[in-house]
């Protein structure tokens, strides 16, 4: 279980379900006199039990690691209080994260971000384009490679999006 501070400060006696997704449920609750968010991962019955346990544990660890690392870099993520591995629990979908440095991985991450923003907010093509320009600016050579890779990544897959140029300076 990853319990993290509940920034909305809602106090309940028991856990209260906030939301449920494909991987698990998120609750709000009290823990050691603190208001926390608890994420619990389901066990997948279609998997062999040992494999399921292993996968879930590794994802819990990876998420906790990613959250804490991001925090140390100044990214506003929840603080992990208790990644308890036995009852299938964790927080936020960082479960598939890794620390590989390859341009391909970074390009794919950018692509996922791009698609996520474009699909959830209307008229954000210019915004996304500016984000990528800013990324290039901030990262110099390595970033150039990643963005080149990003162009390649965009050509894969079924749904292709036309690119609008960045019209303002970030």
């Amino acid at each position: 279980m990853v319990a993290v501070p509940n920034l909305n400060k809602k106090r309940r006696m028991d856990r209260q379900l906030v939301t449920q997704g494909a991987e698990g449920r998120v609750y709000v609750g009290d823990w050691l006199n603190h208001s926390v968010i608890i994420k619990q991962r389901f066990s997948k019955k279609y998997r062999h039990v040992d494999l399921d346990t292993h996968i879930t544990q590794e994802r819990i660890k990876a998420e906790a690691r990613a959250l804490t690392r991001c925090r140390s870099l100044g990214i506003r993520t929840p603080a992990v209080y208790d990644p308890y591995e036995s009852s299938e629990v964790i927080l936020i979908d960082f479960g598939l994260s890794s620390v590989e440095e390859r341009a391909e991985d970074k390009a794919v991450d950018l692509y996922v971000l791009e698609r996520a923003v474009l699909s959830t907010h209307p008229n954000t093509e210019a915004f996304v384009s500016c984000c990528i320009s800013a990324y290039k600016k901030a990262g110099s050579n390595a970033a150039e490679d990643v963005v080149k890779r990003l162009d390649e990544v965009r050509t894969r897959g079924r749904k292709k999006i036309p690119q609008k140029p960045c019209t303002s300076t970030p």
Binding site: P5, L67, R71, S72
Partner: protein, 132 residues
């Protein structure tokens, strides 16, 4: 080296759970609590850093058990220490924040997005699979 009682509560919670599961890394419940305050896997090191030292002027004692056991233990402990009992609310005044920051390797960026307590507890909680 303690920022707030919560830090110790988290360490204690983990220790009690580990004991119940038969998975303690150290030999006793209380050394386990001290060990859980550390972000390094070396037990001796943790006991040296977080355990009571010869030169220490302030001591934070942790007592675990049922309500009755705790009352009894608290009495026993206070009798053994030559000093004044102060409320845990005064703990914050005694914390050497700079030293804590150094010890837990907390970054300045992190302190902009959260408290020292959160930074410390995150590292403690993720000790077994995180090197920062």
């Amino acid at each position: 080296m303690v920022v707030a009682p919560f830090q110790v509560a988290v360490a204690a919670n983990r220790a009690v759970r580990a004991q119940a599961l038969g998975k303690m890394a150290t030999r006793s419940l209380y050394t386990e609590v001290i060990f859980n305050l550390s972000t390094k896997k070396n037990i001796m090191n943790a006991l040296k850093t977080f355990g009571m030292g010869e030169e220490d002027k302030e001591v934070l004692a942790v007592v675990l058990g049922t309500e009755e056991e705790v009352e009894d233990k608290v009495t026993k402990i206070t009798q053994q220490i030559n000093g004044k009992v102060v409320d845990t609310s005064e703990l914050a005044d005694l914390t050497q924040e700079a030293r804590v920051q150094e010890l837990y390797k907390v970054t300045p960026e992190e302190l902009k997005v959260g408290s020292l307590l959160e930074a410390v507890v995150s590292r403690m909680a993720c000790r077994d699979f995180l090197t920062l």
